[in-house]
Amino acid sequence: MSEKEFDYYLKGEKGEYEVVIGLEVHAQVLSDAKLFSSSATKFGSEPNSQVSLVDAAMPGMLPVINKFCVEQAVKTGLGLNAKINTFSKFDRKNYFYADLPQGYQISQFKHPIVGEGKVILDMPYGTKEVGIERLHLEQDAGKSIHDQDPKNSFVDLNRSGIALMEIVSKPDLRSPGEVGEYIKKLRSIMRYLNTCDGNMEQGSLRADVNVSVRKKGSKEFGTRCEIKNVNSIKFMQQAIDYEARRQIELIEEGNEVDQETRLFDTKKQETRSMRSKEDAHDYRYFPDPDLLPLRLEDSYIEDLKKGLPELPDHKKQRLISEFKLSNYEASVIISDQAVSTYYEEVAKNSDYKLASTWLMGELFATLNKEGKDITESPVSAVNLAKMINLIKDGTISGKIAKTVFEEMIKNDVDPSKIVEDKGLKQTSDPKEIENIVDKVLETNQDKVEQYKSGKDKLFGFFVGQVMKEMKGKGNPQMINDILKNKLK
């Protein structure tokens, strides 16, 4: 594969600009209960049906940490190759809003549970390392609903108190493309770990995007703007592109970029100022006196480490070495854990090269057409492996296999039964093939003459005629061999 060069530089009147991006990703912890209460966390439930006394901040109610959420955060930290802090603390971030019942969000400010780490991105121009600054646990707020009544706003507290992991990257990203890959990579790691479902439509993964620009080659960072709460990769990319161009325009006009918080208007595809630095909230962070510091034993972290599943990066290397997959094939297969599991099951029980060809060809096309994901595949891995084995042992040809596969999509049964029922078995009897070859050559004496006088292309014609006679079931290799022999 030819390596491209990184080329995301934006042109201004006065030169080229590099875009510097850092992300604060909010990932909802996959957990049945909230961070500090036992309320359920199911998406799409009846408003205010999953609210405990703690979530509603009734007088005298106290938070108690959900150990499972801590475990999920530690696992995620380990998946990000990050330092796990054996001492961390919860702080209160104080501000008033109708969907924030306590009047503060419990978060981790000074002492996060996870420290520095890194993730590796596969870009067309090579691998790219993105630093992770920290990961901390915090509560989500509720939801304010403003569009149901002309006069009143409503508040749904189902989300209030749900555990989030805020994953803060270093300002290492340089293009919308890298941002897209970064989000996909984080999502893939968390899905492998089962710590976040990564479902962006449901808001389980969203990000605040910090953008600044600087002249190409410059080492100094420009003034950044933070674009709040963007919930799709596409929107993040559009927002970055718009925002970077807006900043370049300001700079070129001789103005300064104000450090501020902005919103991305998805309809108008532009960012808008939300509040300036001067209007920034003073959150009055201080340690939450209702909670003790979180202390983790080294052995606890070690045990979690031992229990981790194989993660995407490792799996990719293994697939390349074990199954001789190309970098591209391996990347595609590992990006979704379920796909990789499916692949391995097929590959281990049949032929790894054919497995990848069929998975990425026919099966992906079918899934695409039917709008399904691999876990809903109409063809099971067991049966696909059996089908590949039928190709391998010469029972069916690759061409016949397509017919068999079509049948399997309709009815996921043992492919040998389909071959049997439909009479698709390949003929590999040399005698039978020889008879037909003889017959074909006899009826086409003129062509045989032409072939012998140098018209090599006619070989394909003879193969086609034999196949036609055999209704496509002749063993192609044997037909080739016998024909070659006869035409010598």
Partner: protein
């Protein structure tokens, strides 16, 4: 003849269990007296009829395994009580009926006690005189020529115990809110070690300092109540994983050999001779009980009060943010959300609460945090270290509870600083998270009660109780007020 209401909690339960007194008689005795004592303004909510009904039910079915069986019990209105109005003495929560029962009060009812009503206190427990209550000030049964404050914040509780309107009660102590009113009313008040009693279901003032504790007629009652209300609670992360103890069974006045520290820094400037004499009297008593007296130093004492008045308001400013008019309690309308907040919180909170929210917000603000909040936390650590150091050589520390006796209603109301000075001898204990008790030890020249404070090591309530018991037995304090309000 001794009236039922004059009995100690311990004796009352003994007599109920031995069928000398019925539960109904016990409850009726207190209810009748409480009804005649409206002037003291101890109750915010009365549940007399319910209490009488429950007592009637209890009368035939005496359960001797229950430690508080049949005891009529009013509690500070900071404890959430299921289905019963809980206000924290604030307009903000007027009419609020929780759907849950605090852990501490649950334990009372589980042991057979019987709710008489909810007792007045300073608004959100912020005050030292019970004058910040939205429901009016409480009057001390002790008086001279004027009506006196009962102290605060557990003022209604203290007056109610002193005036025999409840057999005993539970209060809360953040900077002295159990001990100072106990001292002002000639009663016993124990603030347990931080983490000994669950804070779940108690309206929070300052989470790192708040602690519930017994307020009783004598030390034995305090030991009994202490063993009922303490214990680990999974619902409170700061609750200590420590085994349940039977303080009343281990109570002894034999304190021979105990080493008792006298901190020189507690002899504050301008302390009256009466208080110093009282302190000396305490020292003589423990000496004659075979204790060794040691002068000790707690060098950072003078910084305790300022540190407290930074940390407590800081936590309070955040704890009270939930009273925003959105989900429950008082709401004043406004043209938008911000105006609704402003109106609700301006009208719903009283002046002292607002003062502390302002101070707390200020000391946590960016640019001031390090100079105030962080500094105060460091001071707090130093104060804790002082005590740790002292407790290497002594078992308990003896001090006066307050710098003066009860004062007249209105006397300090416009002077927050002199009001705050009431807590100067009690506040260090909260900052260090230690157990301390106040017991009545004598009278001043106006015949007003004065208290002595005993401070103990972490989770060593037993030694504190024993030490207090020995002093109590020796002093033999007798209430001397007349029922002037009836």
């Amino acid at each position: 003849m001794t009236e039922i209401y004059q009995l100690t909690l311990y004796d009352l339960i003994e007599k109920i269990k031995s069928k000398e007194i019925s539960c109904e008689e016990a409850t009726k005795s207190y209810v009748d007296r409480a009804k005649k004592s409206q002037k003291l303004n101890c109750f915010i909510e009365e549940t007399f009829d319910q209490a009488l009904d429950k007592a009637k039910n209890q009368s035939g079915k005496i359960d001797t395994s229950k430690k508080l069986f049949g005891a009529p019990f009013a509690v500070k209105d900071l404890f959430c009580t299921k289905g019963i109005q809980t206000t924290a003495s604030s307009k903000m929560l007027e009419g609020f009926k929780p759907e849950y029962e605090s852990t501490v009060t649950s334990k009372l009812w589980d042991e057979g006690a019987n709710l008489l009503g909810k007792l007045n206190c300073d608004e959100y427990a912020m005050g030292s005189s019970n004058e910040t209550s939205y429901f009016g000030n409480v009057i001390n049964p002790y008086r001279n020529d004027k009506d006196l404050v009962p102290g605060g914040s557990s003022g209604g509780s203290a007056s109610a115990v002193a005036a025999h309107l409840t057999s005993a009660t539970v209060g809360t102590d953040t900077g002295g809110s159990i001990r100072q009113p106990a001292s002002f009313t000639g009663t016993v008040g124990l603030k347990p070690t931080y983490g000994r009693c669950s804070r779940w279901g108690i309206v929070a003032f300052a989470s790192s300092l708040d602690q519930a504790g017994p307020m009783t007629k004598d030390v034995r009652d305090a030991s009994l109540l202490m063993e009922v209300i303490s214990g680990h609670d999974n619902k409170d992360s700061t609750s200590a994983q420590i085994k349940q103890e039977v303080f009343s069974q281990k109570l002894t006045k034999d304190i021979k050999g105990l080493k008792i520290g006298i901190p020189k820094e507690y002899k504050i400037d301008g302390m009256s001779k009466e208080i110093i004499d009282l302190w000396d009297k305490g020292i003589e008593i423990v000496k004659s009980s075979g204790c060794e007296i040691k002068e000790i130093s707690l060098p950072h004492t003078k910084y305790a009060l300022p540190a407290y008045y930074i940390i407590a308001p800081a936590e309070a400013s955040s704890n009270l943010a939930r009273y925003d008019g959105v989900r429950y309690g008082f709401r004043a309308e406004g043209k938008d959300l911000i105006e609704m907040y402003e109106n609700t919180r301006s009208l719903g909170f009283g002046d002292e609460v607002k003062r502390r929210i302002l101070i707390g917000t200020y000391v946590l603000s960016s640019g001031y945090y390090d100079a105030y909040y962080l500094k105060a936390q460091k001071v707090r650590r130093l104060i804790k270290n002082d005590f740790d150091q002292a407790f290497k050589s002594v078992d308990t520390i003896l001090t006066p509870t307050t710098p003066s006796a009860a004062f007249a209603i209105g006397e300090n109301v416009d002077d927050p600083i002199s009001m705050y000075l009431n807590d100067v001898l009690t506040v260090p204990v909260n900052l260090a998270g230690l157990p301390a008790i106040s017991i009545p030890a004598g009278y001043d020249q106006n015949n007003l009660p004065l208290g002595l404070q005993l401070i103990g090591k972490s989770f060593d309530e037993q030694t504190v109780l024993n030490n207090a018991y020995a002093i109590e037995q020796s002093i033999n304090f007798k209430p001397n007020f007349k029922d002037w309000w009836m």
